[in-house]
Symmetry: C2
Subunit: 742 residues, 2 copies
């Protein structure tokens, strides 16, 4: 605004963290009558604004403010009393000692009242111009209003008016906080954290507090290996609304837990005796279902980890919703205590129900939790489910993309380990080489396990083994390609070993103990990777015949870099580099890969058919050859008009309208003389238009070029109908004409 | 042999040129009792052997031989008289002045008499050991024989015995040449060449004579652009047998010309008056066929460019063969004279027959001639044919591979230009990026032609144009995407321009004249490129929808680097990295690409159906969108037991046996409401085994592991049958279920 409308020079640099939502951004702005040539960040500020109340605890936001500068806080705290209670001692001291002018604005309240939801930028900008005095305020207001018309014009008049109102009312909401001189000597507030793990205390916390640049290189491991499960220490508390469980309505389906992108809501099974001393609000009901007799059931929200997307509540199928979204403040105290109780007193009961069922899978510990993905992200629920099915023996090669960012960006890791210390081994090399990287891991293990098998066979030929050891070794040798049995026999070998006399061979065996359990190899990546940049490798690895599984998280754009078109972007969709709507149809990745005949292929959409997702995951993993699963993943880049909390519903509509087909192609069926291809979605239901107009990527073309949009939409309808018929034909072919083969 | 069997140290370095047959190799060998650490080429030699008689003229083979050293020549010249006649003066002087010991061996004659064909290596090796005296001769013989057993053991006893005999008889064939002292002052022999083009005289000849390292950098163009058609200056004369035309048997089908990998046999049409003064042996017959009335016909071999593969004679369909293979010596004089006569006195008649027919295409000048490909190469005939159809407006991006080596390695270029100076524009960037490279060329032209269209439209709005110019400009604007018409109107524009007053706009137009004719964009590469390393790009470019054509020359291995397995290598084939037979089936590239629906796809095999190749080439080029042609290309790496002269027959068997399907998938048909997929080969005829056993890549597995080979062959038969049925099903689908679409 200043750069474009005045003769002043402006410089702006934005420093982000890599969180996809509730993340931290620092805007470094300089203005002046003379050209600005500074190439360093602002470290002497006249004005500091903090747009999130929680940051006063988390960050040293006033670092570098000048004496007598201005501090603008956006918080619900409007009185000195509130501030006395909420601000940490260190901040009070800085404010008072530097003699700052201190203002508060409750931008969230104002934005909510105007219908702007969480979008507070107009309010804070106006407040900035009011206080910072860079240009006359009247002038600033008129520039702001011009920019509103320009920016939001396309989104309709209502949006423009809301933003105009925000500018007008912002100043009214501004309150100066007159603080007492005593703040200059305010005592230290106790630390928020009580970290036991030195890695968290000494590495994670400083980085989270934006002080990572001050860490010495020696704080890090030279090989880049980091401890797992560190995202659990963040407890960001960024949700505005969090789910509250209504026990009386709950049908104990566990769907809320399945779909939560952040593993922030989980079912708990407790034995009655474990409930002794539970907080009053730790309500439980009798657990329903075979195998759960005598146990108590409860849905436990992790309110400090929750991102407030509402997906859990939206998906809850109970007749009366068994989850209601409530303000975090109303839940925090009780639920934090409840969670602490559950963690300390209630054991994980992951063996009472079949892990491979929808409900049973959710009694497993998710080994991906509290990632930095966007609220409502469509990618994470798939990966979280995989960790619940195979996590303790998974080895993952991740392509660069959102899944490598929410999957592991410094300083925290959302992949974690179970009580026995097992969890996914995860690595990210490059954007383009994930499949090859994974194949390398696979081949290395294959070689090492072949060596183990040789060693075991050699030992079996020697005399003087205990019967237990002999039996365990033979059992392992015969069952080494079976996930469960290889682990069981491996454990038996290890326990028999601990009682055997040590020979050099047995000693060698001891050192190979990580190899007993059959591993589950996975490659994860987005469509930009799988359809485009990494496709050559994906194709090569699938063609190799190796027993490796590839999951393509298909958001239909390059999400991590802001939504560029990929070959997965459908006809008619707007995307970066396809501003006028994509003009060729989506690549049929699944059909292409099916031509190999020996590759397992599935197309899935969690919101449409959770059980089909489960089936595909289990079959792919079990198939002794390469597998490809293409998963429809709603994403903020699609502009779902109902909001990301409805991403599961959107994913269901995608299937109903014929936009996204569901199928499984299992070569193992061909070996049994059956047609390997099973189509699992129905004919397009004729409501494609409604679906398309519910997403900005299609709806915006409608506004900008209605005729083109109409033509493209007709073409889409035709193509989806035709694709359905093609797939139908394929699914109905007699088994001997289907091309599936090993 | 020396390194492995004695305590002497040996060092060997081989310098090759890039010719695929009849090429030049220098072996630099050092032996000694002390370790050898020299890292430079041998430039002071005790012993020099020259294995090809023609080299005495072409190269300075005695460069760097020591005084009193030994020179071994392999030639048919056994007497001093022969040598007097054949050796150039410079060589005689070196021999005499350095006092060399000079021996000749007629290894070719001996090898022929023993049934070894052209394989002279045992004979020359034995002669070397006899003369060089590095180790006692008896010992050398026994080492040689051991190595024969090791190397040829697998090929059967007959081969072993022939090679043993070669060793035994080699010494008998060795003749010492007692030269007179007068050789020290032998006069210079006149230069072989009479080059007019300075580029050929000053750049090409020195490089061909292995003196390229002595050229200054300033001899080359800084942008890497080289003159076209320079392979014509080589006249290597490396064929042992060349075709002799039998006019009385010829049915004038032109197939010999179509299949010749080197464009070394061509039909000539002459008006009777052009024949005045023709050499007696310049026999012609009345030309047959519509449009050829009154003309004379002749098949003209280019005997000095011929590689002697025999493909032309083998393919000749005349009842009594109209081509017989005869020793070069018997043909050289007459045919060189005949060719010179034809070139000077008989015009090219490329407009008397439809260029798009098999016969008519061969009356077009091939714009790829005399390449360095192997004798009988299966790749070059496809590309040569393309140049006959579209050469004057082709723009080619070539992947690295055989086609980039025979297509343009320094110092000569086999791509040439027609009488008007038009020919293919050809470039090679990397192995992996040919498709992207081609798309860049395409896009650049698309932009430039759009600018031209703008300019033309602008000019049409101005006044004062001559009627001719206006008509020509309008005609071009309306027909700019039609290959022929855009050229015609473009020529009309240019001729009208030359009469118009010069304005700045018309001047601009003049400088854009290269853009009038619609270009034909091609990407060439092998299967290593198209199926593997460059597949990501191939897929991306085809998916883009751009009007660009991709030809994959499928030799089923990485040919240029010696036969590594690619994803095009079929199940059961031996290749490098698949020494025990490939265990997964060939990738179905065509089927994968057909899933786009808007890409033209064809699978062709010249030996099986020449007209289908023509159809596919023409349709692909005409289709206003991306095209992919996968062409079966026999290659020396396949080990065709009948020899590369039978490569066309082998390509026919591949189709008959169901090993290679023929089809065309033309999206334009879908637009007409037809099934776009046309299957053009028949059901497997049951003789797959015979075909497989005729090629070493399959037959060797039979010898090494008969049971595995048998199993794999059965599996192959099953798969090819199944593939045939799949394709049949596809070809019989009703048009609305076929997925073809724009
Ligand atoms: C070779 C290369 N090009 C570009 C990038 C920048 N980049 C990082 S992630 C990404 C997009 C990933 O998109 P996609 O594969 O669809 O995954 P998503 O983010 O949608 O999950 C890009 C372009 C890169 N890391 N490497
Ligand atoms: C990235 C890269 N890897 C390897 C090579 C070496 N190389 C040059 S040509 C070639 C083989 C080409 O095989 P193919 O594409 O099948 O073509 P063909 O030679 O069979 O015609 C290889 C491996 C290279 N040039 N670049
Ligand atoms: S609101 Fe969203 S993040 Fe929070 S528990 Fe529910 S699904 Fe998980
Ligand atoms: S989704 Fe609703 S009904 Fe199902 S377990 Fe969760 S709260 Fe209960
Ligand atoms: S995939 Fe989309 S929703 Fe998920 S983290 Fe990335 S940008 Fe956010
Ligand atoms: S022998 Fe081979 S190279 Fe010679 S003309 Fe015939 S086909 Fe061409
Ligand atoms: S192939 Fe035989 S019959 Fe045909 S043109 Fe050539 S020489 Fe004549
Ligand atoms: S493709 Fe085969 S036959 Fe042709 S030049 Fe290459 S190696 Fe020789």
């Amino acid at each position: 605004i200043i750069g474009d409308n005045t003769d002043m020079y402006a410089q702006a640099y934005f420093a982000y963290d890599s969180k996809k939502s509730g993340g931290f951004t620092v805007s470094h702005l300089r203005f002046g009558k003379a050209p600005i040539k500074s190439s360093y960040l602002v470290n002497q500020a006249d004005f500091v604004a903090c747009h999130k109340a929680a940051y006063v605890q988390l960050y040293d936001v006033l670092e570098g403010i000048k004496d007598g500068g201005t501090f603008l806080l956006n918080s619900p705290w409007e009185t000195l009393e509130d501030m006395e209670r909420e601000l940490p001692g260190r901040m009070k001291r800085t404010i008072a000692r530097k003699g700052l002018k201190f203002y508060n604005v409750d931008a969230v309240k104002l934005a909510m009242s105007l219908g702007l939801g969480g979008r507070i930028n107009m309010i804070t900008q106006t407040a900035y111009f009011k206080l910072a005095n860079v240009i006359p305020f009247d002038q600033a207001v008129s520039y702001l209003k011009d920019s509103i018309k320009k920016t939001y014009g396309k989104k309709g008049e209502a949006v423009v008016n809301m933003n105009m109102a925000a500018v007008d009312k912002a100043v009214e909401s501004l309150v100066e906080i007159k603080y007492p001189e005593s703040w200059a000597d305010a005592p230290d507030t106790p630390s928020l954290y009580n970290d036991v793990d030195p890695y968290i205390a000494e590495v994670v916390r400083p980085i989270l507090a934006q002080q990572g640049d001050k860490l010495p290189v020696s704080a890090f491991e030279p090989d880049g290996i980091v401890p797992l499960g560190t995202s659990a220490c963040e407890k960001r508390g960024v949700a505005i609304l969090v789910p509250e469980w209504q026990p009386e309505n709950c049908i104990q389906c566990n769907q809320c837990s399945l779909v939560c992108p952040h593993a922030a809501i989980r079912p708990i099974l407790a034995a009655p005796e474990e409930l002794e001393g539970a907080p009053e609000s730790f309500v439980t009901v009798d657990a329903k279902g075979k195998g759960l007799e005598g146990l108590k059931f409860r849905i436990q929200p992790y309110v400090m980890d929750c991102q407030g997307c509402g997906s859990c509540a939206n998906v809850c199928p109970a007749k009366e919703k068994a989850l209601l979204m409530k303000p975090l403040e109303t839940q925090q105290e009780a639920q934090v205590a409840n969670l602490a109780f559950a963690t300390e007193h209630v054991s994980l009961k992951d063996d009472v129900m079949d892990r491979g069922t929808l409900k049973g899978s959710q009694f497993q510990q998710p080994l991906l939790e509290f990632s930095g993905a966007c609220a409502g992200c469509g990618e994470t629920p798939y990966v979280k489910l995989l960790t619940q099915l195979f996590g303790e023996r998974m080895i993952v090669a991740n392509a660069t993309g959102c899944s490598s960012i929410w999957g592991g960006s410094a300083p925290v890791t959302p992949y974690c380990q179970n009580k026995d210390g097992f969890g996914p081994a995860w690595g990210n090399s490059l954007f383009e080489d994930a499949a090859e990287y994974g194949l390398g891991m696979h081949d290395a293990y294959a070689q090492r396990r072949a060596k183990l098998a040789d060693t075991v066979a050699g030992i079996l030929e020697s005399e003087g083994l205990t019967p237990e050891l002999r039996e365990a070794l033979q059992g392992w040798l015969d069952n080494r390609d079976d996930a469960d049995k290889s682990r069981e026999y491996g454990e038996a070998v290890m326990s028999a070993l601990s009682e055997a006399d040590e020979t050099p061979e047995l000693h060698e065996l001891w050192h190979m103990s990580d190899l007993f359990t059959k591993k589950s190899f996975w490659v994860f990546g987005g469509d930009g990777w799988g359809y485009d940049i990494g496709y050559g490798g994906l194709d090569h690895v699938l063609a190799s015949g190796a027993d490796i599984n590839i999951l393509v998280l298909d958001t239909e754009v390059y999400s991590n870099t802001g939504g560029q078109a990929s070959k997965a972007t459908p006809l008619g969709s707007i995307a970066k580099f396809a501003a006028a709507g994509k003009r060729v149809k989506k690549k049929e990745l699944g059909r292409m890969v099916m031509t190999y005949g020996y590759v397992y292929v599935a197309s899935v959409s969690m919101g449409a058919d959770m059980n089909q997702v489960l089936k595909a995951f289990k079959e792919a993993e079990a198939y002794k050859g390469p597998s490809l699963i293409i998963a429809y993943a709603p994403c903020i880049n699609q502009g779902i008009r109902k909001g990301m909390g409805k991403s599961m519903e959107e994913a269901k509509l995608a299937v109903k309208t014929g936009y996204w087909p569901l199928y499984r192609f299992n070569p193992a069926l061909a070996d049994e003389g059956k047609n390997p291809f099973i189509l699992e979605s129905k004919a397009p239901d004729g409501t494609l238009n409604e679906f398309l107009l519910g997403e900005n990527r299609y709806a915006q073309l409608e506004q900008a070029k209605p005729e083109v949009a109409q033509k493209l939409r007709e073409e889409m309808a035709r193509q989806y109908q035709e694709r359905y018929e093609d797939l139908k034909t394929l699914s109905e072919l007699p088994a001997d004409k289907t091309g599936g083969e090993k």
